[in-house]
Amino acid sequence: MPALARREDVGPAIRVRLAGFVRTLRDNGFQVGLAESGDALRILSAGAFARPPLAKAALRSLLCGRRSDWDAFDALFDAFWTGRRVKTRVATDGAAQTSQRTMRTLATQSGGDPAGLPIDVERNNASTDTDPEPAGRREGASRYESLSRVDFRRLADPDAMAQAHALAARLARRMRVRLTRRDRVARRGRRIDLRRTIRASLGTGGTPLVLVRRRPRHKPLRVVVLLDASGSMSLYTAVFLRFVHGVLDCFTEAEAFLFHTRLVHVSDALREKDTARALDRLGLMAEGVGGGTRIGESLATFNRWHAVRVIHSRTCVMILSDGYDTGPPERLASEMAALRRRCRRIVWLNPLIGWDGYEPSARGMAAALPYVDLFAPAHTLESLAALEPYLARL
């Protein structure tokens, strides 16, 4: 970054470069406004930050807004300013990569940083990636990440979408009715708001005729969906994705995560009203969908980085998975135990239960079962609908 070395060099060229950098950050989910761009320019033009490492530290503080930004920033900064072109978005683990690597090595290097952040790197034409797993397998987990991009747009069948939304809306209504009733009981401990009461008493000459009361606000039930999008689930992913889209649309508070060998936070992408665009965005985020499964590790990522934020005491966690895990079952069990301590209910919907003679014999499933409140079949929208009374009781 020699251009940053001298103050007089901060001219049009660096402005353009900085604008490009800010755009890259925005593409990666950073919230950067105009005021921040202006301040970034001030930082670059200040003599104190002439050396690149200092400029990096300063820009990181200015442009990052959350921990995930903070962890991803160094890699993005290096990628942008040290010459590597930034073109295609590829979901990788957040570990900082400084050398030129093929997409393949980037994508298979999992287990380092847990957040599973999308980082922009150049798509290297030399990498000859082939999907190591045939599509549409029904059983068994695979250790490999699939690099093929699933075209989620074909899921945007309007009829199916409408059905899924109708179901989610029905569920949301049922769960809310239950909540309101609970809330009334909690209102016994209400107290008088002195400030408002006295304000209201001004009209009656200082005699407090109207008592203004306060009551505890109720927290609506929050639903957090963890959707297994691995190869073994590929037959059902479409159904569940529509359902999850509906859930995000209908519940006041809902979050969705997709996992296979990594965990990806997909709420923002799926919240897009326009279904086609939502699925398009999801397609970008979910590179590797249809590959292997590491449930335990994905749950660990969730517990470590997302749980404090998205789970409160009135949260129901819904895991949609067949329980085929390539990781050690002890890991899954301990993470399930940790999750159990945090949230109110865990629902595990397993598409395989629908099969004749199914026993939850997969090691992972058996390990997770003690921590699950409701273990139920779900492979089609109809079977999800059949769950309505159970879910409403949670």
Partner: protein, 290 residues
Amino acid sequence: MLDRQAIADRLAGVGYVADAALATVLMLMDMLQRPLLLEGPAGVGKTEVAKALAAIHEARLIRLQCHEGLDRANSLYEWNYQRQLLAIKAREGRDADDTEAHVFSEQYLLERPLLAAIRQTVPPVLLIDEIDRADEEFEAFLLEVLSDFQVSIPELGTVTATAIPRVVLTSNGTRELSDALRRRCLYHALDFPEPDREARILLMRIPGIDAALAMQIARLMQEVRKQELSNVPGVAETLDWAAALVGLGVSRIDADRAVVHETLACVLKTREDHARISREVTDRLIGKVA
């Protein structure tokens, strides 16, 4: 405006060992006049940053501890209703306008942290602690105060800041903060200090501690934090523990393992953690660092 090195030196002078990134961001605070958002697990010293910042600028530290249900009345200002009612009773029969002007005067105004922070003559450090515990509505209100630094009190008029405070917000990440607030603030993620820095903290804070012992303690704490505890001990616990060891006359942690194990139990705050760090585990960890 102080430069990075000067800030780092002064922080060291008041007993806070900062790394380069933190010194940089503290310098940016002054340069860009933005609030600083500190995020990190409990016990990494987020609040200490604000205290040290106040100390190096010789400014007053005004602290607003956030909690659920925090509102304008608790954070900005409130009228002293009880006294107002008394005054109204006492002045019964006098001119009503006069009474009103009297009870809505400065005398009956209870200053809360946010109002206090903008009415100082010397810029204070305003610490808004655990902002994630406050409600979203409060966050929006705070954003407004932080961008305008003026407050309108209907009965008194608009109060404009006489000094722009240095604002430090801390968050444990129990709730997602709004994008607007995050964008407005400078961001710094604080983590547990690496052993080298923690040892320097011990040397600075514990009088009479041996440098070798400080390093051993810092490295052992790093191992302890790796043990997947339900309640990870913070820097304050390290300080307590080091003080305990020094007080008991321990000079090397591998010399007196029984005492180390017993005192190490002081930094573990739950039953499960106690069970997890058994005598054998302690011995193994000591073996690793000694």
